[in-house]
Amino acid sequence: MNNTELLNALECVLFVSGEPVLIEELCKLFDVTMLEMTSMLSQASKLYEEQDRGVLLHITEESVQLVSNKKYSKYVEELLQPTQSRTFSQALLETLTIVAYRQPITRAEIDFIRGVRSEYSVSQLMKQGFIKECGRKDIVGKPQLLCTTDKFLRKFGLNTLSDLPNYDLLSDPNRLSLPDDDEKELIDTV
């Protein structure tokens, strides 16, 4: 058995084993000395690394194991647990936008502006980390106040909330109308 064959056979048994295999056992299996085996292993390990192989050899003093190359872990993660990609639904986008411009805001206030219940949208946005609780409003029932998160800014490529189009104008809590014509010009140039 030549060197290449031995390395291939080694790959085979390490693959099937999955777990660390004692170098001592490998010596017995292939009828080579400890010295020969360790030198062969380190040689193989270097080769795997140089080639950026999907699997690498993890060698300790006692044992050796075939392990996945962490360079490709994002593919592994994606395969084993694919991220779902979704577009923002109209409901989510509306709810998020209200929180963004009008934070801190209660759910009832969001409901009022949207004219429909926003319970599901709010819980989804919280779950996905785009909005969070930021205190309680000091009125009857002490409702939760909601505001956007850092993740929200990153997702929309903003440095700060005031980077939102027409932020100063639209964040005014008293405002329930569209900008008038003069204001609109400002917006169209955004």
Binding site: F15, V16, S17, G18, S68, V76, E77, L80, Q81, T83, Q84, S85, R86, T87, F88, Q90, L93, E94, L96, T97, I98, A100, Y101, T106, A108, E109, D111, F112, I113, R114, G115, V116, R117, Q128, I139, V140, G141, P143, K155, F156, G157, L158, D163, L164, P165, N166, L170, P173, N174, R175, L176, S177, L178, D180, K184, I187, V190
Partner: protein, 264 residues
């Protein structure tokens, strides 16, 4: 005749047994009915010690078929029917035997394949600690957010299309009531000759709650046809116009939105 005792269980059905007998006699399948095979089969089945109910019926059915074929060969052939719908039972059995033999041989080849393939090993999946599952939202730009907000405000201005049932709590009628706001609006409209802009209804620093209740009041009035709301163009300002302003007394027995809610 039965020089050796074999278990019927070792045969995988009557066709298997027939094939075995044919092979032992070194016969061609076609010659099965001119040979001793039929009587061998019958003898075998009737003397089998381990013929239980589960296996018996298939073997006995075959025995009946064989006897029927045998009896046909002894009797003069009936005149041939013009349409040959029924396959000759002898032909059919020969066909079945051939077909069965072909797949039996193929199954032996498959067995070899399997034996060979069993030298191939796979490994168990790695244990991989995964981060919590994430939903990646695609799309979503600040401009989209902006337009969504404009759309909302637009809807807010349109007002009437609201589903008011959605408004559930946190309307605190202790401070502002729909009734009170309706009175305010009526007063404003009277002062302004029956017409005003939506935003003239509030002071500049009116608390949000007041705006909300004002809005509800407007909706009530719209519903009761006290006022009309119109807009000169899309995204334009909202004009409120008095139609038939009523006295507060007119709604004595009617529940306003906030009152319905607080009763619940």
């Amino acid at each position: 005749m039965m020089a050796y005792k074999i278990s019927i269980k070792q045969f995988d059905g009557p066709l298997d047994l027939l094939l075995h007998l044919i092979e032992k006699a070194e016969l061609d399948i076609r010659d099965v009915f001119v040979s001793e095979i039929t009587s061998q089969y019958l003898e075998y089945v009737y003397s089998a010690e381990d013929l239980d109910l589960d296996t018996a019926s298939d073997f006995l059915t075959m025995a009946a078929r064989l006897m029927y074929i045998k009896s046909r060969s002894l009797l003069p052939k009936p005149p041939r029917e013009t349409d040959e719908e029924e396959e000759d039972p002898e032909e059919l059995l020969i066909r079945q035997l051939r077909e069965y033999k072909a797949y039996k041989q193929a199954s032996q080849m498959l067995s070899e394949l399997e034996k060979d393939a069993s030298k191939v090993y796979t490994k168990l999946p790695e244990e991989f600690i995964l981060p919590p599952k994430e939903v990646i939202f695609t799309g979503g730009t600040p401009t989209e957010l902006y337009y969504a907000f404009c759309e909302l405000l637009h809807r807010a201005e349109q007002g009437g299309a609201r589903d008011n049932k959605a408004l559930t709590h946190e309307v605190t009628p202790d401070i502002y009531t729909v009734r009170g706001c309706m009175a305010e609006i009526r007063q404003m409209l009277r002062e302004k000759d029956g017409e005003c802009e939506f935003f003239e209804l509030f002071e500049d620093d009116a608390p949000k709650l007041k705006i909300i209740v004002m809005f509800m009041a407007l909706l009530e009035m719209l519903l009761r046809q006290e006022i009309a709301i119109n807009q000169s163009k899309t995204f334009g300002k909202l004009h409120i116009k008095a139609l038939e302003l009523k006295d507060g007394e007119a709604y004595k027995n009617v529940k306003m939105m906030d009152e319905v809610v607080s009763d619940e």
